[in-house]
C-alpha cells in the first residue's frame, strides 16, 4: 500500500508568554534554535527520519513566520504524490465562530481533514521541544499493546515534576506500561514520568473523545483529554523515552538548552540527528562561508555561514549573518540572524533576537561570570546605544525608539518596554 498510514498533527499555535520578547512576532515553534534552524525543525526532522510524511500543522498565533518557514515542505522531503505538509489555520463557518480554544479544539475543528485522509493511526505532537525520536518504535509499541492512546514519557527530577503532565506507569517493563494515573502539573507529583506531548491515538477513539470534550469548557490534550480517557477506562499506555529532551519554556531554559549544542560531545548533535531546516527561509542558502578575520577567535562555539568574526566569541552560538567586530567580545550568548556587535562591545549571557546592533563599547549582561546568572534577552530590530551598560536578567522589548534608551542603562532584572 503506497498511501501513508500515519497522519501527524503538530501543535504549533502557541505563543508561550514566558519566552517574552522572543515570541512577540512569532509562535514558539518558529523560534530560532541551533544556529540556523527553528524549534519546529526538530519534530519535522524526526518525522522525516521516521518515514512519516503526511503532516498537518495547527497554527494560530502570528503564523506568518511559521508558514514562511515551512514553505513547500520540500526541505523535509514532504512533497510528492502522497507526501505533504498542510498548514491548518483557524477558520469560521456556520457552526463554529471560535479561534482554536485549545490544542484538542484545534484538532476537533479539523476533523474533516483528518477523516478525509483516513489514517490508521494519528500522531499528535508538540512543535515546541528539542529532541530526537524515532516515532516508529512508539507506534509499534502502540500496536503491540492494542492501545487506544500511547503517550511518550521521560524521567525528570522530582522537584521539576510539577511543571509537567505526570504519569504513573504500571510495572517496570523498560518499554513502557499501562498508565495508572495522569495529572497535569500536579502540586504533589506521584511519580517522575513527564509527558513529552507525543501522543499516538487510535483514530476512532480520538474522534469519540474529541466530540465528548466539546461539552466541556477546556480543550487541552494534557489537561482534559488524557484524564478523561483514564476515567473512561480507555486503553492508555505510557511509552518510556530515554533520549535527550530539551525544554525551552523560559528564556533561561532556552539558553540552557542552547548550551547543550556545544562541547566536544554535544548532547544535541544536529548532524547525527539528521536535522533539516528550510534553507530558503531568510535565504540562508545564499550565505558565503563563515569568515574569520586575523583577530577572530572562536572557542567552544558554533557559527553558520554568512557570519564575519574578527572579535572574540566563546561558548556562544551565532546564526547566519552575525558580525562580531575586532575588539568585541561575545560570551555565553546566542545571537540570532543578522546581529552586529561593534568594536569594544561586550556581551555575556545574552539572547538577542534578529537584526539587533550592539553599539561600540556597549556592555550587556555581566561579564566574566560563568556561574548562575540570569540571561538578558533583547528583542528584535534594536539599536543598543554605544557605551550603554545593561545588567543581567534584563528584558528589552523589540524596536525600542532611540530616545527611549535610558542614559544610565539598565540595572539587573530591569525591563525596557
Amino acid at each position: 500500500m503506497l498511501k501513508p498510514s500515519t497522519l501527524a498533527m503538530i501543535l504549533a499555535g502557541g505563543r508561550v508568554d514566558e519566552l517574552g520578547v522572543l515570541t512577540h512576532y512569532r509562535p514558539k515553534s518558529a523560534v530560532p534554535f541551533g544556529g540556523f534552524a527553528r524549534v519546529i525543525d526538530f519534530p519535522l526532522s524526526n518525522l522525516m527520519c521516521s518515514g512519516i510524511e503526511l503532516i498537518a500543522i495547527l497554527s494560530q498565533y502570528r503564523s506568518y513566520s511559521l508558514i514562511n518557514h515551512i514553505g513547500t515542505g520540500a526541505a523535509w522531503d514532504m512533497i510528492g504524490r502522497y507526501r505533504g505538509i498542510s498548514i491548518l489555520p483557524p477558520f469560521k463557518d456556520y457552526e463554529n465562530p471560535h479561534w482554536y480554544r485549545g490544542s484538542a479544539d484545534a484538532v476537533y475543528q479539523n476533523l474533516d481533514f483528518v477523516r478525509y485522509h483516513d489514517p490508521a493511526e494519528i500522531l499528535v505532537l508538540s512543535g515546541d521541544h528539542i529532541y530526537h525520536m524515532d516515532y516508529r518504535e512508539m507506534i509499534r509499541y502502540h500496536y503491540s499493546q492494542d492501545a487506544d492512546l500511547t503517550a511518550a514519557f521521560i524521567r525528570v527530577d522530582r522537584q521539576e515534576a510539577s511543571r509537567f503532565g505526570i504519569a504513573e506507569i504500571e510495572g517496570d517493563d523498560p518499554q513502557g506500561g499501562r498508565l495508572l494515573s495522569y495529572e497535569e502539573k500536579p502540586a504533589r507529583p506521584r511519580d517522575r514520568w513527564a509527558s513529552l506531548t507525543v501522543l499516538c491515538f487510535r483514530p476512532k477513539v480520538l474522534y469519540e473523545v474529541l466530540a465528548e470534550n466539546q461539552k466541556q469548557d477546556s480543550y487541552e490534550f494534557g489537561r482534559d483529554i488524557i484524564p478523561m480517557m483514564m476515567e473512561k477506562q480507555y486503553r492508555v499506555f505510557g511509552y518510556k523515552f530515554r533520549g535527550y529532551w530539551g525544554y525551552t519554556r523560559t528564556v533561561d531554559e532556552y539558553w540552557q538548552t542552547s548550551m547543550d549544542l556545544l562541547g566536544e560531545h554535544p548532547r544535541i548533535d544536529m548532524e547525527k540527528w539528521g536535522l533539516r531546516t528550510n534553507l530558503e527561509h531568510r535565504n540562508i542558502r545564499d550565505c558565503q562561508p563563515l569568515k574569520i578575520g586575523a583577530h577572530g577567535l572562536l572557542d567552544n562555539s558554533m557559527a553558520y555561514n554568512g557570519c564575519i568574526v574578527d572579535g572574540t566569541v566563546r561558548n556562544s552560538i551565532l546564526f547566519p549573518g552575525v558580525r562580531v567586530a575586532k575588539g568585541a567580545e561575545v560570551h555565553n550568548s546566542v545571537l540570532f540572524f543578522n546581529n552586529t556587535v561593534k568594536e569594544g562591545a561586550s556581551l555575556c549571557r545574552v539572547v538577542s533576537d534578529v537584526n539587533t546592533v550592539f553599539g561600540r563599547n556597549a556592555r550587556v549582561g555581566v561579564a566574566g561570570v560563568d556561574g548562575p546568572g540570569k540571561v538578558t534577552v533583547i528583542g528584535w530590530n534594536n539599536r543598543v546605544p554605544a557605551g550603554i551598560t545593561i545588567g543581567s536578567g534584563c528584558t528589552v522589548a523589540p524596536r525600542i525608539a532611540p530616545e527611549s534608551w535610558p542614559a544610565e542603562g539598565l540595572a539587573d532584572l530591569e525591563v525596557l518596554q
Binding site: 545564499d286 562561508p289 563563515l290 574569520i292 558554533m302 557559527a303 554568512g306
Partner: protein, 422 residues
Amino acid sequence: MREARDALVLLLAGGIGSRLNILVGHRAKPAVPFGGLYRIIDFSLSNVMNSGLTRVGVLTQYKPLSLMRHIGTGAAWDFTGRTRGVKILPPRTGEKDSDWYQGTADAIRQNIDFIQANPSEQVVILSGDHIYQMDFDAMLEYHRHKEADITIGMMVVPKSEIHQFGAGIVDSENRIVGWEEKPREPKTNLASMGIYVFDTGYLLKTLARDRQEIDFGMHIIPRAIEQDRVFAYPFYGYWRDVGTIQSYWQTNMDIIAEHSEISPEEWGIRTNIEADGRPMDRAPARFLSGCDVSSSMVSAGCIIEGTVVNSVLSPGVHVRKGAVVRDAVIFEDSVIAENAVVDLAICDKRVRIGRNVVVGAGGDRGVANREYPKHLYTGITLIGKMAEIPDGLRIGRNCIVRPQRGGTDFAGVERLEDGASL
C-alpha cells in the same frame, strides 16, 4: 526596475583546463569547487542572473557530468519558469556535423539551431572559467549605444601577462583597430576577457561565412575589425582567470584577505546546494575548546579542534586536535587527523590526511614537480579526491598524490620528496 532586453547567453564550459591537473581529473574546469561553497561556473551564471538575463545555453564537452549535475534544473539561478531556462548543449552528431567542438567559434556554430530557436537581438558569449562580477546588461546597453557588431569585454593587465590573452588596440572611441592573439611582444596592455556581445544577425552571418574559422580570438575577431564595427567594453573590477594551480590558489586566498576585493555574498553569487546530495544541509560549523582559527573561511558542517590559518574550508571538513592547516584549500568532507600538518596544499573532496602526516612543511618551494614542472612550481602540493594518506608520511612541496591513492599504494613509501608524484 531593470529593463534587460532579453539577449541569449551562450556559456562556453567545455575547456579541459588541463593546467589545473588532478583537480580536473573527473570534472570540467567550470565545475571545480571554489571559495568553500561555490564552483567556478557559479560566478558566470550568477552574473547572468543578476544582469536580468534569463535564457542560457551551456556548451559542454569535457567530462560534463559533474557540471550537468551542478546546473540541474537551473533553479538555483532562477532560470526556471515559462520563458526562462538553462539548456546543456553537448556536442552532437548530425547529418553534417559529426565532430567534437574544434574551438570557441566552432562550438557556437554547431549550435546555430539553438540560437535560431531562441530569437534574440544580441547573443552574449561567455566563458565559465573566471572569477569576477560584471553587469552584462550595462555591456549590452553600451553595445547598442555604439551600434557595434561585436563588443568585447576588455581590461588592462600588466604587460608581463598579456601573452596569455587576446590583446586589442583601441582608438579614442574605444573602437578596436588592432588585434593580436597571445602576442609575444605586446603593443598594448588591453586584454580580452573572453566576453563577447554579438548582434545576433551579424553572428549568424559571420559563422556561416567560413567553416575554417573555428576560434573567435584567432579568426573571427581579427577579420571583423578590418571590416566591421568592433568595440572594447572596458572593465575595471576584480577579474581572475583561475586556469592555473597558482592563480586558482591565489584567488581563493584573495577572498580571505583582510580588505578583500571578492565577496561572493555581496556579489550575489548563487550556487546549487542540492547538487551533490546534501552539501549545505549541514549544521553550523563547530569550534571546540582550544582550537585556533584566523584569517580563514569555514563552511557549515566543519568541526575544528586544531589550528586553521589562512585557509578556505568547504563543508564538512574535520580538523582534529593538534592538526595544523595553513595556506590551504580543503574541499568537502576531508579529514585532517590528529597532529597532522597541511601547509600550502589543495586537498580535493573526501581526502584523509593521517595522523602526524606532514604535507608541505619544511621543504623547498623552488623544486618544481618533476612530471608537471609548468603546473606546480610555487610550492603548492595537490592531494587528489578520496586519497588516504597513511599515518606519519611526509610529503614535500610541489607534490601530487593522485585521486584514490591509499593503503597499498603507499607500501614502502616513507616520504614523497619535493616535486614527486604518486
